[in-house]
């Protein structure tokens, strides 16, 4: 692509190789490539954070406050993309969901699709929760509600601990399955991912009374 500023070949980086002008963001880039990371679940968060901050220093609008409007626009678009990428990558569950979506797995449920580019629509497979699992979750919720109504905080804490354990197990399963690279494993990961959503909602409800507590 030609550089907007010097009209010469800009090269693949954020800055034009010829004149150093900041180039527009590439909308098609996925969250991992934006941060220069391999698209996998197992990543070193400290390295990722360092990459995020280093890139932020370079492209942040604060660096372009008095620059050409086109450079300022590129800076805004790139920083929006960078912040979104970091938001996606730093949270384990969001990272897992993003990788699943990227691999063409559609997760049933009420959550909206991510707005980040990079996902290809081919080979999509929709995964939804098995009825037996849903039934169990509904029963657990009823049990939780009864315990909360009765003010039985010990029971609530006990249930939360149980679900937290299950969530940790699911998360470990997702981690393993995602990086295995096998299609069959992906579907397993998608099912665990879906279960995680239910667990999270359960924990939110369980912790609602505790006040000031935060997620798993």
């Amino acid at each position: 692509m030609l550089c907007w500023s010097c009209q010469r070949e800009a090269g693949p980086g954020a800055f034009c190789v010829a004149c150093g002008a900041l180039q527009p963001a590439n909308d098609a880039a996925d969250a991992f490539s934006v941060l220069g990371l391999p698209a996998r679940y197992g990543i070193d968060l400290a390295t990722a954070e360092a990459a995020y901050k280093e890139q932020s220093r370079q492209v942040h609008p604060d660096r372009f406050a008095t620059a050409d409007p086109r450079a300022r626009r590129a800076s805004l678009a790139r920083t929006v993309q960078l912040n979104q990428a970091w938001l996606t990558v730093k949270d384990p569950l969001r990272r897992a969901g993003y990788l699943l979506e990227r691999a063409g797995m559609l997760i049933g449920g009420d959550d909206k699709k991510s707005a980040v580019g990079g996902g290809d629509d081919k080979r999509t497979a929709e995964v939804s929760a098995p009825p037996a699992f849903l039934l169990e979750i509904i029963e657990l919720h009823e049990e939780l509600r009864a315990a909360r109504r009765a003010g039985d905080s010990v029971k609530v804490a006990f249930m939360a601990e149980e679900i937290r354990g299950r969530a940790a197990q699911s998360m470990a399963g997702i981690a393993q399955a995602l990086d295995s690279g096998e299609r069959a494993q992906l579907e397993k990961a998608a099912r665990s991912f879906m279960a995680m959503r239910y667990y999270q909602r359960f924990l939110e409800e369980a912790l609602a009374d505790a006040g000031g507590g935060h997620g798993p």
Partner: protein, 653 residues
């Protein structure tokens, strides 16, 4: 919106052309009670103090300008200590204090404070602007909070220009972190009305952390507890290797020292047996008495003063002990507890792991506030910092960095959105697009479709807040998309892009995906001014305004002329095959006309020539755009198409 249809693409929120030079950028703390301006001098931020001849009656050496504006019958405007101390007691209705409380707020909010504000509100001139508060002041004028704030900014600007010995290049103006979009827009508009290039709006707690962190070389996670005259902010920040990262923020943009004054005044009024309606002079005097007692009780355990309740009356004596005062204000102060808890939880931290609590704002001088903070965080707050000056100093550091003055390449500020942004959906439910405490700048995209055949317009209602229902959130603006190509219902795919910029201000742009057509967006802010209104106010102010506003506009117009001529030339060079001979001649003539006009001093002539060029090249631009889309730009971002077409035009908000 500027009629720059040449190679089009309206970019909401972008100011026209920035042309700040590399120095003379200042930081401004536009406070509820007092305002300050600071610069970076020899690498250190310093607040500028009043000269001996400073307007407004300030004592020489005083850094704080009281945020009080008096409008005189003869059209004079007096700002500062003189307005507060000499004019307010006798002209309570014409002397506006704590105007920040009204920024970006509507009449309904203003009405809520009626009993204890001495002001008179002017009815809206038209139904369209009923959202905006207008104070009816002397000389038959009605002024908006933005205009009142602009008067304060002008005084600071003059002070800075006197100190710098030249015109101001730009300013970073601070805002409470918890200010919503409307309040931020209002602040930026005030800057424009004062003829100031607003380089950035910076959150006050972040500014404080920046000044403190750089000064003390501090690292770790800090809480900034900022209780000013009218606003309360709590921010949790991580300071590490020059990165100032806001983890969470919270607050109440209508909670501060003013509220303490109000409850104390209510108690004093009850103590002398006054009930029912009270008149403005009395309100002003009681609020002043309450403030004086409060300030005295910060040091002493008992205080008293005498006030003439009306002209000619014998003075009435009011006495209060610190214990009594604390009992009055404690319930108000308790409102800080919720936001503090939530911010700590949102940041995913615990009070015990904090490296320190930084106090900002005059109200934090009160012993009761200090003990409240100590209890809320389980530690004594840091006291080695001037709570009045630190915000302006941080803003000056940021301004210097933005203007490229300092070699602080290692410093990076990562701030957040204070309140979730959402869209009104069916049934009055607010669907969140961007969650609170998301790092800015950030964005979200949403695709909509039309629900009627040949529908060419679409309305979006953007709200801000944490509640589920639209009616419980704050209405920000209604966006009307027009220019959607007529298609059967459900066929159009409108991709709307929401971007929160580094100022925390929302921009909205939209295009129709099937045809790739950019749609026009009209913004109706719920509690602010439209761009056209701001422009008009700037024009209106020319009568008695400084020459430099006119000069600035002329310069901006020239810069715009240059960029549009360059764009036209490069387009003609790149795609001659898309032009008929007649068109080429017309555009060439129009380009020449722009250049002639540009050489003169009449910016309206330049504007007219630009519009002529726009008109002459409109067809050509459309063909270029269409061809570009056909050649595979389809589906790519507007930004990119825009950039590749070599046009860098920006419209109004």
């Amino acid at each position: 919106m500027a009629p720059d249809v040449l190679f089009q693409i309206a970019e909401p929120g972008e100011t026209r052309v920035k042309h700040a030079c590399r120095t003379n950028a200042v930081g401004i703390d536009l406070g509820t009670t007092n305002s300050l301006v600071a610069i970076v001098d020899a690498g250190k931020p310093v607040c500028l103090t009043a000269d001996d001849d400073d307007a407004g009656g300030a004592d020489a050496g005083d850094a704080m300008v009281p945020s009080v504006v008096h409008y005189a019958e003869d059209g004079d405007v007096v700002v500062g200590a003189d307005a507060r101390d000499r004019l307010a007691p006798d002209h309570p209705r014409d002397t506006i204090a704590s105007v920040k409380r009204f920024m970006g707020r509507g009449m309904r909010d203003a009405e809520a404070t009626r009993r204890l504000t001495p002001y008179r509100f002017a009815p809206a001139a038209t139904a369209a602007d009923e959202g905006v508060v207008r104070f009816a002041v002397a000389g038959g004028r009605a002024v908006t909070p933005m205009e009142v704030s602009a008067e304060i900014l002008k005084v600071l600007k003059r002070r800075a220009e006197a100190a710098l010995g030249g015109p101001l290049a730009g300013a970073v103006i601070t805002v409470p972190a918890y200010f919503d979009d409307g309040q931020r827009q209002a602040t930026r508009d005030a800057g424009r009305l004062a003829g100031i290039e607003v380089l950035r709006l910076l959150n006050e707690p972040t500014a404080a952390a920046l000044a403190y962190g750089l000064d003390k070389q501090a690292e770790g996670t800090f809480a900034v507890f900022d209780l000013g005259g009218g606003t309360f902010d709590i921010s949790i920040l991580k300071l590490e290797d020059g990165v100032f990262e806001v983890k969470a923020t919270g607050g109440d943009s209508a909670l501060g020292g003013d509220d303490f004054d109000r409850v104390i005044a209510e108690s004093l009024i009850a103590g002398i047996g006054r009930t029912g309606d009270i008149e403005p002079h009395f309100v002003r005097r009681m609020l002043d008495a309450a403030r004086a007692l409060k300030e005295a009780l910060t040091v002493d355990s008992e205080a008293s003063l005498e006030v003439a309740l009306a002209d000619g009356d014998a003075p009435t004596r009011f006495a209060l002990t610190r214990t009594e005062m604390e009992a009055l204000v404690a319930p108000v102060l308790a409102r800080c507890a919720g936001p503090v808890r939530r911010a700590i939880a949102d940041a995913g931290t615990e009070p015990g792991t904090l490296s320190g609590v930084i106090l900002v704002g005059g109200a934090t001088r009160m012993p009761l506030v200090r003990s409240f903070v100590a209890e809320a965080f389980g530690r004594e707050p840091l006291a080695d910092i001037d709570p009045d000056q630190v915000v302006a100093m941080g803003a000056a550091v940021q301004a210097d960095m933005l203007a490229g003055g300092a070699s602080r390449d290692d410093v990076l500020l990562l701030d957040v959105v204070p309140l979730s942004l959402g869209l009104e959906t069916m049934g009055g439910v607010a669907e969140k697009l961007i969650h609170r405490n998301t790092t800015v700048p950030c964005g979200a995209r949403q695709t909509f479709t039309t629900f009627a055949d040949k529908q060419t317009g679409f309305d979006l209602h953007v709200v801000q807040g944490e509640r589920e229902l639209v009616s419980e959130c704050r209405s920000l603006a209604r966006f009307t998309l027009t220019g959607i190509p007529p298609m059967p219902a459900g066929m159009a795919r409108l991709e709307v892009e929401f971007t929160v910029d580094a100022d925390g201000i929302l921009r909205v742009s939209a295009h129709e995906e099937v045809t790739g057509r950019q749609t026009a967006i009209e913004v109706k802010p719920s509690y602010g001014l439209t761009d056209a209104e701001v422009e008009r106010m700037i024009l209106d102010s020319f009568a008695n305004a400084e020459q430099d506003v006119e000069t600035r506009l002329l310069v901006e117009q020239r810069v715009e002329a240059d960029s549009i001529v360059a764009a036209a030339r490069s387009a003609m060079r790149d795609s001659p095959e898309l032009l008929t001979d007649a068109e080429r001649d017309a555009i060439t003539r129009a380009v020449a006309d722009v250049e002639v006009a540009r050489g003169g001093n009449d910016r309206h002539a330049i504007r007219a020539a630009i519009e002529e060029l726009d008109h002459a090249s409109k067809e050509f631009a459309t063909r270029r755009m269409n061809r570009a889309l056909e050649q595979g730009f389809r589906g790519r971002s507007v930004d990119k198409v825009d950039a590749e077409l070599g046009a860098g035009k920006a419209g109004g908000r």
